[in-house]
Symmetry: C2
Subunit: 161 residues, 2 copies
């Protein structure tokens, strides 16, 4: 079970978009340059964030992306779900119904206990991701990221946004 | 983030192996027949279970697979880890170090807060899987699986094992 590398990219992009002045945006090209990642792949992930309401895509010549809401209202769960899609990690193919001991479909009234246990574990994973907001990650980073890096990012944002 | 279909197959196979009389085994072919899944794929997953110590591969003409330990000592975490591999779901590529604000590697003494939060959520997922034993799943199934299916499985086991 592997998450797309797009999850790391998307969370980092959201932290940069959070630093934008009001009414400013950043395009996929600028964000790809900032993180030295392939623009085409990043653009796909930014579109996914937009489709799931995490960022707004502002059209036009000075358009680009900005966060769709306050950083306290965006969680790791929102971003992971946007990039990975909303489906369950564990998909039950109902193999219990097959083969020499399988019974007619109507005999299976409840989901299989294996699927229930797998989905319960997924719920605690997503709940944990939902407890981490972008605001929290940014507040922690403010203490941990060096002054040099913060200053370099501010300089870059001034000319890129 | 999607788990391999092998997880469902592997957990179901372990519940069948749990029903074997002592000293008996089942081969990949018999298990593939029981669940109507492709033998070659299932064999790969059974080998993974064996490599991770969930099942024993008994060699020889009457050989096959059996559980490596008691069902109370085998958890969903053991099986998921065997099938999916032990690495983290979230891989940090350290993109924070790249681009115009990137600093020399020595400036980053702690893991990125994003990676820490992702890994903390993974830990609660794996902890939840670790709380579900094969013994618990089988005890629940004993109440939920129809008598017809249980009888059909017992008949099949008698001739297959």
């Amino acid at each position: 079970m592997r998450l797309s590398e797009g999850v790391e990219w998307a969370v980092h992009c959201c932290t940069v978009l959070a630093a934008l002045p009001p009414e400013r945006t950043l395009g996929a090209g600028a964000l790809a340059e900032f993180f030295e990642v392939p623009k085409a792949y990043l653009a796909k992930h930014l579109q996914a964030l937009s489709q799931h309401g995490v960022v707004d895509a502002v059209p036009g010549r000075n358009g680009g992306y900005r966060l769709a809401r306050a950083t306290a209202k965006i969680t790791l769960r929102d971003i992971v779900t946007a990039i990975e899609g909303p489906g369950p990690c564990f998909r039950c193919q109902e193999i219990r119904r097959r083969g020499p001991s399988g019974q007619p479909k109507r005999c299976y009234t409840a989901p299989c206990g294996i699927a229930r246990a797998m989905w319960a574990a997924e719920k605690v994973y997503l709940d944990a991701l939902a407890r981490t907001t972008l605001a929290k990650l940014i507040a922690e980073a403010a203490h941990e990221v060096s002054h040099e890096q913060q200053a370099a990012m501010a300089r870059w944002l001034e000319q890129a946004a």
